[in-house]
């Protein structure tokens, strides 16, 4: 059967109605519904009958003020949503209370909207909540705003009064970064300029409210931004392990290499899962989907998947603009729960930069560090462990958070831009922004007391080439010679400092970087730090050479032919790799890049362990004697 009624609206737009208490929000909504023929049958008669029975004048506002307590007091307490249609689309009208007491309900309503109508009473002009709501709309990310100057009938439909309010309010809105689309003179009670042009305002050439609504644009999910896929849950309903979540921004495709913050594990998207939907290899922002991965890595709720080249920040300190709704203040020294996407982490106030009265924008001067109810603050938050986030101006969904105090969601905030370091690909560059704190004991003084320089002795080579055996013997030999020496053991590192890392190429690189950084600290403390890692990539070893104090890095290529190593195979790893039980095994299924110019090369198929150790000791002593012998 062909549709015989009105065509299906192709889209839906959510609009919030805000403004100061008694400026006529609920009345406006009632009138809008009446004048667009959107009231259900019998509703008007019902409202009239109720008013008559109660002996009170009929109020349009009672359409939205559904609670007995709201009707009794003639105020809106809670936000409500109601639907109507124009030929262009369906609208969800969100009525928000204007009383300061119910600000949390106003925010609940406004946070879900794509556009806002701000009502101002022509009689009273700009009031406290007119300003606060304007400010909060901007903070909540609502950019499409029209201002309705209501109750024009009480001002004799005066153009002068209208112009004056527009001037006053524009100045304020501009100062908080809001550019209203337009100002419209209305009288909600009489329907002036709502659905049709009013004869009372012949001077008004602008649009009606209804025309303005149809000019707003619907919000589209940010498919073009960097991918952010926060994990909501991991399901194992059958043999598949499905990571479920909603794509908050960007596009996700089968075959994508994803890095999961905060563990930084990497895997590849094997399938995109949906139920009762066509199989697809792509999913877009806004879609609640599931994915399976080619390599099983540990991922739990709270992880955020992104592409390796454009990860979120991962830090435990950031700047934010925050509004507080809780009865008890948001106070420094107290711990709260922060929820950002699907992450939850304990947090506290690090410092409050500025406290703002949102109705005047004046700075509040206060000795104690807390944010009171209905106040706004610019502050720095400190989280117990790092959170993955973005700046709100870049990616909205991962750039905002709420604060839970006890059982209650009590505040919300958006993350402000700052010089945040990225932890990942550019981690070497980012370090330039952090100043190295310099002690008063110089490296030369340490070397003089110790009798030797601090070093990073880096043993590299295939598995079973003899690195660890040499390292252990070298440590004992140097110790016996009175040297300060310590081995950074690969397994020990992975138990502690690197316990969050796996064995992907990316994680291996990060592992080597951390070992390098740690070895550097030992070397600077004057210790000879010996490491034994396969470290197959030249690039990674060169990275460590750059990290280590200048001239302290000693690269030693422990060189045994693959056949020899494979024959030794003390842990049976080569056999497993040959049997394909271990993937990406260096020398078998993954490359080993030999050093081009190592400080020392040891052919361990020809040298004994003792001989190898002796050569290293000799090399180190030579280095200590020559150019860098302490000169005091």
């Amino acid at each position: 059967m062909q549709p015989n009624g009105s065509a299906a609206p192709a889209e839906q737009l959510k609009i919030v109605i805000v403004g100061h208490v008694d400026h006529g929000k609920s009345t406006f909504v009632g009138r809008l519904f009446n004048d667009t023929g959107s009231l259900p049958e019998g509703k008007l008669e019902q409202l009239e009958a109720i008013a008559k029975r109660r002996g009170v004048p009929f109020e349009w506002a009672n359409l939205m003020d559904a609670l007995q307590s709201e009707r009794d007091q003639n105020i809106t307490i809670d936000t409500a949503q109601i639907w109507f249609r124009t030929p262009k689309r369906q609208y969800v009208i969100i009525d928000a209370p204007g009383h300061k007491e119910f600000l949390k309900n106003m925010i609940t309503g406004a946070a879900n909207a794509e556009a806002a109508l701000l009502l101002i009473d022509a009689n009273e002009g700009v009031q406290e909540q007119s300003r606060r709501h304007g400010y909060l709309l901007n903070l909540l990310g609502i950019r499409q705003i029209a201002v309705l100057v209501n109750k024009m009938d009480l001002q004799g439909y005066s153009q002068e009064r209208f112009d004056q309010i527009e001037r006053d309010y524009r100045v304020f809105l501009k100062s908080v970064g809001v550019e209203p689309k337009c100002f419209i003179p209305i009288a909600a009670k009489h329907g002036d300029n709502i659905a049709s042009r009013s004869a009372q305002t012949p001077w008004w050439q602008g649009p009606t409210v209804l025309e303005t609504l149809d000019q707003f644009e619907t919000a589209q999910p940010p498919t073009g931004q960097p991918l952010r896929f926060p994990i909501q849950d991991v399901y194992r309903f059958d043999e598949r392990r499905i990571l479920a979540g909603r794509i908050e921004s960007g596009t996700l495709r089968v075959g994508d290499r994803l890095v999961f913050s905060p563990t930084n594990k990497v895997s590849v998207v094997k399938t995109i899962e949906r139920w009762n939907a066509p199989v697809a290899t792509e999913a877009l922002a806004g879609e609640s989907i599931g994915v399976t991965l080619t390599e099983q890595i540990f991922v739990a709720r709270g992880a955020i998947a992104a592409r390796e080249t454009e990860p979120p920040y991962e830090l435990s300190k950031f700047k934010a603009r925050l509004f507080w709704l809780g009865r008890a203040p948001f106070a420094r020294g107290k711990t709260y729960k922060l929820k950002l996407a699907t992450q939850e982490v304990e947090c506290e106030i690090d410092s409050i930069e500025r406290l703002i009265d949102s109705s005047t924008l004046a700075t509040i001067e206060r000795a104690e560090a807390f944010v009171g109810r209905n106040e706004v603050a610019e502050l720095t938050l400190h989280t117990k462990r790092p959170v993955a986030f973005d700046v709100h101006g870049d990616i909205i969904a991962t750039g905002r958070f709420v604060i839970v105090d006890g059982f209650e969601v009590s505040g919300g905030g958006i993350i402000a831009a700052d010089h945040y370091p990225r932890r990942t690909a550019d981690s070497l560059q980012k370090s330039h922004n952090i100043y190295w704190s310099q002690g008063k004991v110089a490296a030369e003084q340490r070397a003089l007391r110790n009798g030797h320089k601090g070093r990073v002795v880096w043993l590299t080579g295939l598995s079973a080439s003899g690195k660890s055996t040499i390292a252990v013997e070298l440590e004992r030999e140097l110790f016996n010679l009175g040297r300060h020496v310590y081995i950074l053991d690969g397994d020990n590192m992975r138990h502690g400092l690197c316990s969050d890392l796996g064995f992907s190429a990316r994680d291996r690189k990060e592992n080597i970087r951390r070992v390098g950084e740690t070895a550097k600290l030992f070397a600077e403390a004057g210790v000879i730090c010996v490491t034994a890692f396969i470290s197959p990539y030249r690039e990674d070893r060169d990275m460590v050479r750059r990290i280590a104090p200048e001239g302290s890095f000693v690269e030693i290529y422990v060189n045994a032919p693959l056949a020899v190593c494979e024959q030794r195979d003390p842990k049976g790893l080569y056999a497993k790799a040959r049997a394909n039980e271990i993937k990406d095994f260096t020398g078998i299924s993954a490359p080993y890049e030999a050093p081009n110019q190592p400080e020392l090369e040891l052919h361990t198929d020809q040298l004994s362990v003792a001989e190898s150790v002796a050569r290293i000791v000799e090399f180190l002593q030579r280095g200590d004697k020559v150019s860098d012998a302490p000169q005091i």
Binding site: M1, P3, G5, S6, A10, E11, G37, P40, E41, G42, K43, I50, R53, M64, A66, L67, Q68, I77, D78, A80, Q81, I82, W83, Q90, V92, K104, N105, I107, T108, A111, N112, Q220, Q232, D233, Y235, F237, I242, A244, R246, E273, W275, N276, L284, G286, E287, S288, G290, R301, L325, K337, R400, F401, V402, V404, G406, F407, E408, V409, S410, G412
Partner: protein
Amino acid sequence: MDYLSKLENQSIYILREAQNKFENLAMLWSIGKDSTVLLWLARKAFFGHVPFPLVHVDTTYKIDTMIAYRDRLCKEWGLQLVVGKNEEVLKSGVTFPNGKATRVECCGTLKKDALKAVLDQHHYTGVIVGVRRDEEPTRAKERYFSPRDKNMEWNVEDQPPELWDQFKTDFSPGAHIRIHPLLHWTELNVWEYIERENIPIIPLYFDNGKGERYRSLGCAPCTGSIKSRATSVREIIEELRLTKTPERAGRAQDKESEDAFEKLRRDGYM
């Protein structure tokens, strides 16, 4: 993204949040179109599975075919069903059809109290309910995650803020949370989605051959049918696009007094 998909994705997100946050979770299933769409959305969210029990509050005054339809879907979809009944009141006969209680009192004992008994017995801390904002004005004020205290009461004057899909999932012992994944859907949206997904729906919604159909399903004594010749989902959609009669016009208990329904809901009704 079309708007039906937007509604669907939001509901799936809410269902998954509920599943993750509540150890003892259940979904109310009234057998009507809304909670059946909700059930379908759960299968979407959990890839064909429904990982929590369905609670059906049986007043014994339900229309017969509803029970047959319920049992058939349970079998076909592998659902875990928990039936709640207020046996005591049913035995005493203090119900509306017996003339011993008002409609609202009857809803209070057979639905609300029966629900409370099931929740207490199974210690559910999260209850998924298919109410929608456009059904009725107090539901228009609901939250997606809406707390009820230990007496099941709804403190409507002091609801939690709800923003950016961060929901209230922390609550004091004894309280429970009602989860409303369909809150943002309209009656028309529900039917459009039934059509798009081809969801099996109970035939009571279609013309019974006498030019009448049910628009909203409840207990037989309190649920009226409407005049309609709609015999398919498509015809219902066309009808709804033109109608100006409210959906619950056929539900008599809403009309006993001005705030009858508000009082029921404050006390813990769905």
